[in-house]
Symmetry: C2
Subunit: 344 residues, 2 copies
């Protein structure tokens, strides 16, 4: 039916040339009289730029691809929210792809976004090697990682100081007088390994040996948290404090604890890594290592937008030295609840 108006219709209506109208659309200088004419025509015709035609010529889409390992969790979607805000301010839209924790799908996502000619990408990766990024790098699309670095890839990653924060979390337990400290964590992703590292380092530094049964290493899942906590509580000598490696583990562990006869913090103290919102639900309120999600998103978005800007200026001739930026590591913050008891 009524096909969308094009620049040609404006030309017919105003008598101006395509080039002039294009100039107007892209913010060039025009005689006020012509400017007015065009504006009237646009209003009357309800003209809207056809982004595909524009994209075809400029090979820019004003779209940023965001690839996340799993979209259905609070960590991810809060980041998405903040990222979205930044991009929108800068005139970019976000195209969000969920990898569903599957490396194959992640690789597909990258290819898909390359085809869509996104101008840049933010990625929270599933894979542990940078190979899957090749299509993007080949197409000269700037990439910024979040949360999980790809070691040795030379691709910048914005993340939290997992190691140091976990160290501090365990230090807190230690300073409260705890010696029988258990750790439920994951060694499946870098993030988890870094957190484990931090925990083990503190124990080592304090020469606070713990039995192997206190070390529950699996993946970041509700199940692992649930089972591990059950096992810990069943021990002849259960720990007096437990470090919970991420949101899902907290969820599972608290569930197991709630079903048991143990009380927090009188019987068992808890400190968790991740989300703030959940601490509202548990009683007592959990003490948590909280990631500065807003800062993480702001920095990642800023880094990417800056690159997009630079790429435009230097028209591709980017200094390879500048590309090889290291990680940007932000401090996490311990927010105290009342889930840690003092032991003397």
């Amino acid at each position: 039916m009524n096909l969308a108006a094009t620049i040609k219709d404006i030309k017919d209506m105003t008598g101006l040339s395509l080039a002039t109208i294009s100039k107007y659309l892209n913010g060039g200088n025009l005689l006020p009289k012509n400017r007015e004419k065009i504006e009237r025509a646009i209003a009357e015709l309800h003209y809207e730029v056809n982004e595909m035609a524009r994209g075809l010529v400029t090979s820019k889409s004003k779209v940023i691809g965001v690839v996340v390992f799993d979209i259905a969790n609070v960590f991810t979607c809060t980041l998405l929210k903040y990222l979205g805000e930044r991009f929108r301010e800068a005139g970019y839209a976000a195209m969000i792809c969920d990898s569903q924790n599957d490396a194959q799908q992640e690789a597909d996502n990258i290819r898909f976004l390359v085809n869509k000619k996104v101008d840049g990408m933010i990625i929270i990766p599933v894979a542990q090697e940078a190979g899957f990024l090749e299509p993007a790098l080949k197409a000269d699309i700037p990439v910024v990682l979040m949360d999980r670095s790809l070691e040795g890839s030379g691709i910048a990653c914005v993340k939290v100081n997992n190691r140091e924060s976990s160290y501090q979390a365990l230090e807190m337990l230690y300073n409260y007088g705890h010696r029988r400290i258990a750790v439920i964590g994951s060694d499946r992703e870098l993030t988890g390994r870094e957190r484990l590292d931090g925990c083990l380092q503190l124990l080592k530094d304090k020469k606070n040996e713990i039995p192997a049964s206190y070390l529950k290493i699996g993946c970041h899942s509700i199940e692992h948290g649930y089972n591990s906590m059950q096992e810990l509580l069943r021990l002849k000598e259960p720990p007096t404090a437990v470090f919970l490696g991420n949101f899902e583990i907290i969820l599972g562990a608290v569930m197991a604890l709630n079903e048991s006869s143990f009380q927090c913090p009188s019987d068992i103290s808890l400190i968790g890594f991740d989300d703030l919102i959940i601490s509202n639900l548990s009683n007592p309120r959990l003490t948590l290592v909280v990631q500065p999600l807003r800062d993480l998103a702001d920095n990642a978005a800023g880094l990417l937008l800056e690159r997009l800007q630079n790429n435009k200026n230097t028209s591709g001739e980017t200094d390879p030295e500048k590309q090889k930026q290291g990680d940007l590591i932000l401090p996490a913050q311990i927010v105290e609840g009342s889930s840690i008891a003092r032991r003397l």
Copy 2:
């Protein structure tokens, strides 16, 4: 540098015409020998279709726009996950836009997606009137709503039976012997109003009058839940049971309860509307009205995909009667925890 290969490079390499190669790309019939030639060339050149050029000609993008009122919550992003799965299966990608609970931004999002020439839209709206959808409807883009209908708009909405489920939830409290029943809810969105309606209807049907102070009507926010619960507990005669209208309200209310000396369920019983996952954290486990998120997403995606299919077949000549579909209403399910005590 190495510009992406185009169909023309394949032409040069194979000696075939552009039309033939295009035919190959779109699944037409070719001599095996030519098919092979093209495949070899594609592999060698790492050719990938330029979606913008294709889109310019076909004015199809194979992208579905998803506009959500707020991206940073479990309800939304779980839906996004399921929707994404369906769309991916059907060869579509999702472009997700966050309206941040702001009608202005929502209208911008619609315009943006129309410009991006998305093939269809799924919308969980902020606005209560359908006006903001005009750009999409004008451009003949099929739209399916979720969770919140736009009354009188004639646009299909996939949602849960808020009224009936809330009715049943209150009935459950009533059947457990509760008479002093309070309701914390929202009248800001249709969803909230429907739930309130259901609650009030049960009270009416049972001729179970409650004091005005038991009716806490505000918005779906943590704050409203928190403040309302505090106020209820401070009453001379507090309720024995409370209905919590959505996830955020549950969060706030449980927080207030945890800080008080009241115990659930001995002092006060709870039933909440929304998310399953949170019930794992609270102690005791909450009894909840749970929405069938997977079904909601499957149905919404199915409805939209079907329309896209039909539009293609009939090339625009859609029966206006068919467009004016009513809402698709799915039943929610009450999942019992142990947050309701028996009162006799």
